[in-house]
């Protein structure tokens, strides 16, 4: 595994010279939307995504300094892993429907098509929950708009591995969805 050297992770969201509380507020303002976005990408449930995001910030606030250079990367990784963990837990409890996600889009589709798309999305997230943690996290972070460098920083892996992990994860997930569709 190729680790990133420390000089490559100079990604500080918080300006220097702030008090601890000011620094945390600046970090929160800069990163909250993105952390919610990552969790929502996985869970497709805005309320649950906010719960996850707030738990992550509470944990971060208790244990880390907001001025730490690793803060954004830590939050991104935490968002991916915590929401994927929830997805795995939820998968066991019940078959999730993503009607809420559908509600705001695809209104032009007929009911039959809507049901198919909903089923594909449910199947995709089931498969996402079964994927190994690393490729699943790479996929989720990239889909949430992080650059290759940001994904690499968040997960502590070499930037050269991102493309391969992403490609494999996409191929696996698409196969899972196609398999279900063809059955």
């Amino acid at each position: 595994m190729v680790g990133l050297n420390l000089s490559a992770r100079r990604m500080t969201a918080v300006p220097k010279g702030l008090s601890d509380e000011e620094a945390f507020e600046a970090l929160f303002t800069a990163e909250y939307a993105r952390v919610v976005g990552i969790a929502n990408r996985v869970l497709a449930d805005p309320h649950e995504a906010e719960d996850v995001a707030q738990e992550i910030f509470i944990d971060f606030h208790r244990l880390h300094s907001a001025t730490a250079e690793y803060a954004p990367a830590w939050l991104h990784r935490a968002a991916a892993h915590a929401s994927l963990n929830r997805l795995r837990g939820a998968r066991r409890r019940q078959k999730r429907e993503f009607a809420q996600a559908l509600e705001a889009e695809d209104k032009t589709l007929d009911p039959q098509k809507q049901a198919e798309v909903a089923e594909d999305r449910r199947r995709l997230r089931d498969a996402l929950g079964r994927l190994a943690p690393k490729p699943a996290a790479v996929l989720v972070l990239r889909a949430s708009g992080l650059s290759y460098a940001e994904v690499a920083q968040a997960l502590g892996i070499g930037i050269g591995q991102i493309g391969t992990l992403l490609r494999r994860a996409e191929a696996t997930l698409r196969k899972e969805v196609s398999r279900g569709t063809s059955n």
């Binding site: 805005p46 996850v52 509470i58 996409e170």
Partner: protein
């Protein structure tokens, strides 16, 4: 690959243009990416950032189960670190008085019961002289084991297996290079400190004024699991310990000048406030030159001696049953496995550590 601006340039781009097989693969990858992106698409989550911030900052601070916080988790909290360093230095004095020569390096561990009064009495020892850090503790929190090992002079974080279900696989790594402190006893400072607490100082052995105790700790690495999510059904306020902490440190060493260890031991045990239980336990230690004493706060935790990785270890479990840990020394390293888990799980993880 498909969306990486750097992936399709130069020779790669030229090759792709003329290779039907690669074009087919690229097309398939593009279709996979598009399909998955479509299925992962979600409407943007609406939120009120001010309310969210108020909720997060309004969450009460956790009350640590063992009355301890993990200083290793707050790398930037220098004032906290300084306080912890002072307390640790005082605690290490306790450890150091157990050695029988002028050099102490533990090969095994033994629990000793301490009371809050003991801790208060021992922490005052820090006022009996001056602590000088010849190598400051310098904590790093990183995101990979490779970086942790780099920061801790090559000490590799142990590989953990046999995790019970429910423990997060999200790991934060911490590393500390070797740190070294020199404690110089001062008869004047000791007399002043004792007087300020309204106590009479026990007679100081000859030569103790100016004697030094050099304590070396680390390098050390730690892995912190699952500080990010909480068990279903619990509130955020329930979290007081990370789910799991695994730490490995080069065994601490201590050397002294001018005073013998017996003199030092007698002096420390004669401090006002030291409990008879602690005195008895320390005096009962078989081979003090090679034993690391694990202070167990008897009001909060209990301990049992166990076998871990084929050596003697100390298992700690707090009396509420929500946290436990195990400490052992093997091949010159002190290991710790602790967290909010059952003692049997902690011992199982310890035995599977590689």
């Amino acid at each position: 690959m498909v969306d990486d601006p750097d992936a399709k340039v130069g020779a790669d781009a030229a090759h792709l243009d003329g290779c039907a097989e690669c074009q087919a693969r690229f097309k398939l990858a593009s279709e996979d990416a598009r399909s998955v992106a479509t299925l992962l698409a979600v409407p943007e989550a609406p939120f009120d950032v001010d309310k969210a911030f108020a909720r997060v900052t309004g969450a009460p601070k956790a009350q640590p189960t063992l009355g301890l916080r993990f200083p290793i988790l707050r790398p930037a909290a220098r004032p906290t670190l300084a306080l912890v360093a002072a307390v640790v230095a005082a605690a290490v004095v306790v450890v150091a008085f157990a050695f029988s020569g002028f050099f102490f390096k533990p090969a095994t561990v033994k629990p000793v019961p301490v009371t809050v009064a003991d801790i208060q009495a021992l922490s005052q020892l820090a006022d009996y002289g001056t602590i000088t850090w010849t190598k400051q503790p310098d904590l790093h929190v990183v995101t990979s084991p490779t970086e942790a090992a780099d920061a801790a002079a090559g000490v590799q974080p142990p590989t953990v297996s046999g995790l019970p279900s429910g423990i997060s696989t999200n790991i934060t790594y911490a590393a500390m290079p070797q740190a070294q402190a020199v404690f110089t006893f001062s008869a004047d400072k000791a007399a002043t400190a004792a007087a300020s607490h309204g106590k009479t100082l026990p007679s100081m052995p000859a030569g103790m004024d100016g004697a030094t105790l050099t304590i070396t700790v680390g390098p050390a690495v730690g892995e912190i699991f699952g500080t990010l999510s909480q068990p279903a059904g619990s509130s955020a306020n329930d979290i007081s310990l990370p789910q799991l902490v695994v730490a490995k440190s080069a065994a601490p060493t201590a050397t002294s000048t001018q005073v013998t260890v017996t003199q030092l031991e007698d002096f420390i045990l004669a401090q006002p406030g030291i409990s008879p239980e602690l005195k008895k336990a320390v005096e009962a230690i078989g081979d003090p030159s090679t034993t690391l004493l694990i202070p167990v706060p008897i009001e909060y935790a209990n301990s049992t001696q166990v076998t871990v990785q084929g050596v003697d270890g100390v298992a700690l479990g707090d009396n509420t049953g929500v946290g436990s840990g195990v400490v052992w020394v093997k091949d010159g390293f002190v290991y710790l496995v602790a967290g909010s888990l059952k003692q049997s799980d902690a011992i199982n993880i310890a035995n599977n550590l590689k």
